[in-house]
């Protein structure tokens, strides 16, 4: 623990110096910045964090290095608690996914997003309803009819993790169409996509980036996207179809919307200058061609929010998750 205490002390000294000259220069990191990923290596959040790290290095956007560290334990709880206990350490930022809300609600670990300082929303990740291309369902209607005809619980939905976004969407679909699925949790999105190709599950709600390769290979078929509008990308992907051509689920009579936050938070009690520094940094990252390519490859929704708007969005989203999880019976006892 000693080197850590020492470095915190050093940082504190450095900050107090910086504080005295704050009127002259805005804040800047004085040592390497830890970029925590509350998920395993290779997943969506990890990919995004490492892309950002690559962009920052390539375009020299920071004077200090940005170091990506995975803290995936307890569905990301390990990463959140690490940042929560790093008060007054502005050299620690964290990228979040929906487990920002779902992990504390489902496991009861002592954490809430208000323990951290919100920095900016980078993008929103879309969810698409996928079925195996060999199956006869061409539209949401075919799919819904088939699920209703199948004996209750015999229709298998594969998804990433338990009591997280994929299962929340599954429960939402069940409610919307009054059917009962069996939800089977897997470790990662890529694995889920392959289980669908191998016909071990009947449908999935993979993110675009997780299933796009199988779509292009003609192995899976998208039915609808869980967003209010169709996705913005009109470049053809497979069979002359683009992301834009996938209809919204709502327009097809499946009333469920869900988007996943890809946002940045930092340690508690950050000053205005510090938050401002990171907001500016991520604005620069978003302007690079590499970032735009990345957004396109994953068909992300590129909404950007910071400051009060961002906090308001999170608050609304937290309420929504609480409601969804309560309805689904996913809350930890004692919550």
């Amino acid at each position: 623990m000693k080197p850590f205490v020492l470095s915190v002390a050093l940082a504190a000294i450095a900050m107090s110096c910086a504080g005295s000259t704050a009127s002259v220069a805005a804040w800047e990191p004085v040592r390497p910045v830890e970029f925590i990923v509350p998920a395993g290596t290779g997943g969506g959040a990890d990919q995004m964090a490492r892309t950002i790290q690559g962009i920052v290095t390539k375009h020299n956007l920071m004077k200090q290095p940005l170091v990506v560290i995975n803290k995936a334990g307890g569905a990301g709880g390990e990463g959140f608690l690490d940042v929560k206990t790093s008060t007054n350490n502005p050299h620690k930022i964290i990228i979040t996914l929906s487990n920002l809300f779902t992990t504390p609600l489902a496991t009861g670990i002592p954490f809430n997003w208000k323990d951290l300082t919100p920095v900016a929303m980078l993008a929103l990740d879309e969810f698409v309803l996928w079925v195996n291309a060999e199956k006869p369902y061409q539209s949401v209607k075919d799919y819904v009819d088939a699920t209703k005809k199948a004996p209750s619980g015999s229709f298998k939905m594969g998804g990433t993790g338990s009591k997280q976004e994929d299962q929340i969407i599954t429960v939402g679909i069940e409610k919307a169409i009054e059917a009962k699925f069996t939800y089977i949790p897997y470790k990662g999105g890529g694995e889920v996509a392959v289980q669908l190709v191998g016909n071990h599950v009947d449908s999935t709600v993979n993110n675009p980036i997780e299933a796009v390769a199988q779509w292009r290979g003609g192995k899976v078929r998208p039915l609808c996207v869980f967003d209010a509008q169709p996705m913005a990308y009109d470049e053809p992907i497979a069979d002359g179809k683009a992301w834009k051509d996938i209809p919204t689920c709502k327009s097809q009579g499946l009333a469920m919307e869900y988007l996943m936050l890809r946002g940045i938070f930092m340690s508690p009690k950050a000053t205005k200058d510090q938050i401002e520094y990171y907001v500016e940094l991520f604005k620069k990252v978003r302007a690079t061609p590499e970032w735009q390519d990345f957004m396109k490859s994953g068909a992300f929704n590129t909404t950007f929010l910071a400051g009060a708007d961002y906090a308001k969005w999170i608050e609304a989203e937290e309420k929504r998750h609480e409601g969804l999880m309560k309805e689904a019976g996913f809350l930890a006892s004692g919550n």
Binding site: T41, G42, T57, I109, P185, G188, E191, S297
Partner: protein, 499 residues
């Protein structure tokens, strides 16, 4: 034939001087990463990934895959010299490699390990070159039930084939299962056995347990035996490499069997660790000198190393063709592919020919380069054992502590490592085998997950494990392995009564 033309084009890409330089840098970095316990291949590749973003994708993947080869080679070094597995799949290498080093034959053990690694990897690369499309389709047939059957087979072949008293084997394995259950239950999303301690959210990491049980436990035992380090008279001569090579062809049967086990486990994708354990267990039962396994038998080094590398290499196949990583390191490489704008999946072999065949060619060349690098260093590695124990032991302790810390950047893990060290010492003193415990920690939660996924899908019916030819065959093989001793005994009794 078109494949061969593509492959030669791939060689031309990989043989550019810039790429050869990257290859050697990659191998060297990989060996260092493999030697440091805790800083495994996955972490190493993840740390170095951003460095490669400015390179062309083919060069980048050549360098990263060479780091991967290097880590595979390097993992064996500390297993053999100090009984500390640098990587999960080199645990089984310690069983015979370490006794060999203690008998003054570290050079032989290292040469055997490196050469078998090379053979295993080469076998797998040839398989990838020739039958990639066929094999890739096979992996699609693996749902949760099939995966569980493979884990079941790994457990059974280890328990049924071991010669320890079954009670002690099962007791050790149960401790392992209990430890593997700690942390987040991935099926229900609930925390288990953490008792509100936030450090336990992650469960017990396999690497920390192994570093403690083997590394620290071994140091404690050696201290008790009077600080003697018995590798002192190791010969430090390159000729040892040639001498060992002359012996190796006699074990071709073990090599071939291990190659097949490895390729199968890599493609399915169960990974290198179960492959190495399974191969060791089977070799122990089938080898002529099987009774000597665990006491420094060269075959006991060949079997796990060959299988681990065949698996590690063939694990790249499902990653490229399906987008499913067969190992943690492959998972990080997968992330890299996406960042370079390459979409792994069925279309990669069609759309990105230059990249795929460049990578496959670099597998051939990277392995040869790796073998040369590590073999020339054998005398240097072996000479480490000549350093007096009083000097080397603190260094090992520091190495272990750094390794344990770097797994999660947590000092709690260093304490945990010491606790495991004491546990390892006690278990060894009471003659409990450590291998089943380790096997259960590594595969316990994966097996549990696959088991529960299968039952969710079948709505609770156990029939799912015998629902098709593939899964039934694997389960039946597992049961045969489990009751092998009884079957063998019954058979010999039958023969005597006939006579």
């Amino acid at each position: 034939m078109e494949e061969l033309a593509n492959l030669f084009h791939g060689f031309a890409v990989a043989l550019q001087p810039y790429n050869i330089m990257l290859m050697i840098i990659g191998i060297t970095l990989g060996v260092i990463i493999g030697v440091l316990p805790g800083l495994g291949g996955a972490n190493g590749v993840a740390i170095l990934l951003p460095l490669t973003f400015s390179m062309p994708p083919t060069s980048a993947i050549i360098m990263l895959s060479c780091i991967y080869w290097g880590a595979l080679f390097g993992g064996a070094i500390t297993s053999i010299l100090f009984n500390i597995p640098g990587e999960p799949w080199s645990v089984a290498t310690t069983f015979d490699g370490y006794p060999m080093a203690q008998q003054g034959k570290p050079g032989e053990a290292l040469t055997a390990a490196f050469t078998s690694s090379f053979v295993g990897a080469l076998f797998a690369v040839i398989m990838i070159t020739l039958v990639a499309p066929l094999v890739a389709g096979f992996a699609l047939r693996f749902g949760p039930a099939e995966k569980f059957a493979v884990y079941f087979l790994a457990f059974c072949s280890f328990v049924g084939l071991s010669k320890e008293p079954p009670f002690k084997t099962i007791a050790a394995m149960m401790i392992g299962f209990a430890l593997a259950a700690v942390g987040l239950d991935s099926i229900t999303g609930q925390l288990r056995l953490t008792f509100g301690v936030t450090e336990l959210l992650n469960g017990f990491d396999f690497l920390i347990a192994v570093i403690g049980l083997f590394g620290i436990g071994e140091i404690l035992l050696t201290m008790e035996e009077g600080l003697a380090f018995r590798g002192g008279n190791a010969s430090i001569n390159l000729r040892v490499v040639l001498q060992t090579w002359r012996e190796l062809p006699a074990y071709w049967m073990t090599s071939l069997r291990s190659c097949l086990i490895g390729c199968w486990m890599g493609v399915t994708p169960a990974g290198a660790t179960p492959a190495s354990f399974m191969s060791y267990g089977i070799a122990k039962r089938l080898a002529r000198r099987g009774n000597n396994f665990g006491k420094g038998e060269i075959e006991g080094v060949i079997a796990p190393e060959t299988a681990a590398h065949a698996a590690g290499t063939s694990a790249l196949l499902p990653m490229l063709s399906l987008g499913v990583p067969g190992s943690p390191t492959a998972a990080v490489l997968l992330g890299g592919l996406l960042i370079w704008g390459l979409q792994p999946g069925p279309m990669l072999f069609v759309e990105q020919k230059e990249f795929v065949w460049g990578l496959i060619a670099s597998m051939y060349l990277g392995n040869i380069a790796g073998l040369i690098v590590v073999l020339t260093c054998v005398p240097v590695f072996a000479a480490i054992l000549r350093v007096p124990f009083g000097i080397i032991a603190p260094l090992i302790l520091v190495l272990c502590a750094i390794g344990a810390y770097s797994v999660h950047n947590s000092t709690f893990d260093v304490m945990l490592m010491l606790v495991f060290g004491v546990l390892g010492y006690l278990l060894k003193k009471c003659n409990y085998p450590l291998a089943p415990l380790v096997l259960a920690i590594v595969l316990g939660d994966k097996a549990e997950e696959a088991f529960r996924q299968s039952l969710l899908g079948s709505q609770g019916s156990l029939g799912v494990f015998f629902s098709n030819g593939l899964v039934s065959t694997i389960m039946a093989l597992g049961l045969v392995a489990l009751f092998w001793s009884a079957i063998q005994e019954g058979y010999s009794r039958l023969r005597t009564s006939m006579a």
